[in-house]
């Protein structure tokens, strides 16, 4: 990423003064100028998660998606290639595509009938003598496409910048977390087929990103549900936990709970689902990987990883974060479904629906915290938010990643370090 000379870019210097190694200024969440720069430098530059290949399973399938406030359409063309198109007619700027999903090889704008292939190419327009005939087609633009679209294990990312690191470079160690997720399927594939719940919060998007791998909050924010459901999740995020918070580089962070799951040593213990309730899944896993490897996979469980800036995999559910304004953010959430695991998948939908979304027994309370936090940081004093938790006990693991204990703010500090690289 480009680094700006602070002498010639006073805004860069100002942002550096708001984001320090051990604290951030409240205005970083509320300042519209900061938000405008985030859109340009983060959301419209870096790799952003758009959707999953399983959402467009057939040739000519499409789904509407977002890159922050940008409306895009993710299409699969006749040859199977995936494209990310801006939902804006190249003629007068109308939204071209209205339906959330469908199957169409081409899109026709409702305003004047300009027609585009699902690759973005302009196919034609009505009464073409007004443009001198059909040959004008070659001179007129089609739908704008994301300059770079790449996928990893079916997860489709786009960058609105033609240059920059490859997706693989961007993901770095986070790619292995997606591998860890996918290997929970007997065929190694995730399918996002359960549809989406969309939850809007009156809060800055970074509140959400920080909270996703904040291991300090669950015991407080979620104590109401942990205390009555007998859930062991609270204990995973205590000072006695052997789980770690890890900075994966590139602003990606995780709560690695696998040490606790290994201590427990029960296949599918991480999902709170006894083997006996999902015999078909367990058998399919042991067939696919062999008993020892399958049991290891089912003991280690699913990742809890925040892939900067907008993809959060929380064991059994996937969140896509979408900023709409400096103080408005939508979380799109779906239950992760594993190919070849119908009995497990039904349980995951039930479990996920209970937890997430506007009425979710977990997420409604997280959302309340984002919104209270957003109102809180608008107050004048003491100006700063503290980020020092666990700073004195951070260490570097065998892979060279910075780690802290389950409740340390290692993840937030790492997110902010990467943020500064992109923003200044």
């Amino acid at each position: 990423m480009t680094t700006t000379d602070v002498d010639t870019d006073p805004e860069a210097a100002r942002i550096r003064s708001l984001v320090l190694p051990d604290r951030v200024h409240g205005s970083i969440y509320t300042d519209p100028d900061v938000y405008a720069r985030e859109l340009e430098r983060i959301w419209y530059t870096t790799w952003v998660y758009v959707g999953h290949a399983s959402e467009v399973p057939e040739p000519n399938d499409y789904v509407r998606k977002t890159i922050g406030p940008q409306q895009v359409v993710m299409t699969r063309d006749k040859t199977g290639a995936i494209h990310v198109l801006h939902n804006r007619c190249s003629h007068r700027g109308n939204l071209v595509c209205d339906a959330e999903r469908g199957n169409a090889g081409s899109f026709r704008c409702p305003y004047h009938g300009w027609t585009f292939a699902n690759t973005g190419d302009l196919l034609g327009f009505p009464f073409n003598q007004g443009y001198g005939g059909s040959s004008a087609r070659a001179q007129l633009p089609g739908l704008a496409t994301a300059p770079r679209v790449e996928s990893y294990r079916g997860f489709v990312f786009a960058s609105l910048s033609p240059d920059g690191p490859t997706l693989r470079e961007h993901l770095g160690a986070a790619a292995e977390r997606l591998d860890r997720l996918c290997r929970l399927s007997p065929s190694g594939e995730v399918e996002l087929t359960a549809g989406w719940v969309r939850h809007e919060v009156t809060a800055n998007w970074k509140m959400l990103v920080e909270n996703e791998t904040d291991g300090y909050h669950p015991q407080f924010v979620h104590s109401s549900i942990f205390s009555i459901s007998g859930s062991g999740i609270g204990a995973l995020y205590s000072d006695k936990s052997t789980a770690v918070t890890r900075a994966l580089g590139g602003g990606h962070t995780e709560n690695d709970l696998s040490p606790e799951f290994r201590r427990l040593g029960v296949p599918m213990g991480w999902a709170g689902t006894p083997e006996a309730k999902i015999p078909d899944y367990v058998a399919a896993m042991r067939d696919a990987y062999g008993t020892d490897t399958a049991d290891e996979i089912m003991i280690d469980g699913s990742p809890h990883v925040m892939i900067f800036p907008n993809l959060f995999v929380a064991e059994i559910q996937l969140f896509q974060i979408q900023p709409l304004a400096v103080d408005r953010t939508v979380q799109h959430v779906t239950a992760i479904q594993f190919a070849g695991a119908p009995d497990l998948n039904r349980r995951l939908v039930t479990q996920c629906v209970g937890s997430v979304g506007p009425a979710g027994m977990l997420l409604a309370d997280d959302a309340e915290m984002y919104e209270r936090n957003q109102r809180g940081v608008a107050q004048r004093r003491p100006e700063w938010l503290d980020l020092t938790r666990g700073l004195h006990r951070e260490r570097v693991d065998d892979d060279g990643h910075t780690i802290g204990t389950a409740t340390d703010e290692t993840s937030m500090r790492a997110m902010w370090r990467h943020y500064l690289e992109l923003m200044t």
């Binding site: 000519n60 399938d61 789904v63 339906a99 999903r101 469908g102 169409a104 090889g105 081409s106």
Partner: protein, 85 residues
């Protein structure tokens, strides 16, 4: 699934909903070749001028084309400039 058949061709016709939206599935039952048509393509065929359909029926345009003429789509004639009467 329905079959439209004559002494010259046999094609099965069905509405397919395996994708994110419905589309027409056509299968040339003599070869197993399948083509899907979406709603906008179907509407366009409804409105296509006869000259376009006549060109489509020229065997050397697609299935029995000469090998040195390149991919079939490239050599399909441009539809006429004027809309059908």
């Amino acid at each position: 699934m329905d079959v439209v058949a004559s002494e010259f061709a046999t094609v099965s016709v069905s509405v397919d909903d395996h994708g994110n939206g419905t589309r027409l599935r056509l299968e040339d039952l003599r070869t197993g070749t399948v083509r899907f048509l979406d709603a906008l393509e179907l509407e366009s065929i409804v409105w296509a001028p006869e000259s376009w359909m006549r060109a489509l029926l020229d065997p050397s345009q697609h299935r029995w084309r000469d090998a040195d003429r390149g991919p079939a789509q490239e050599s399909m004639p441009e539809p006429p400039e004027e809309p059908p009467a």
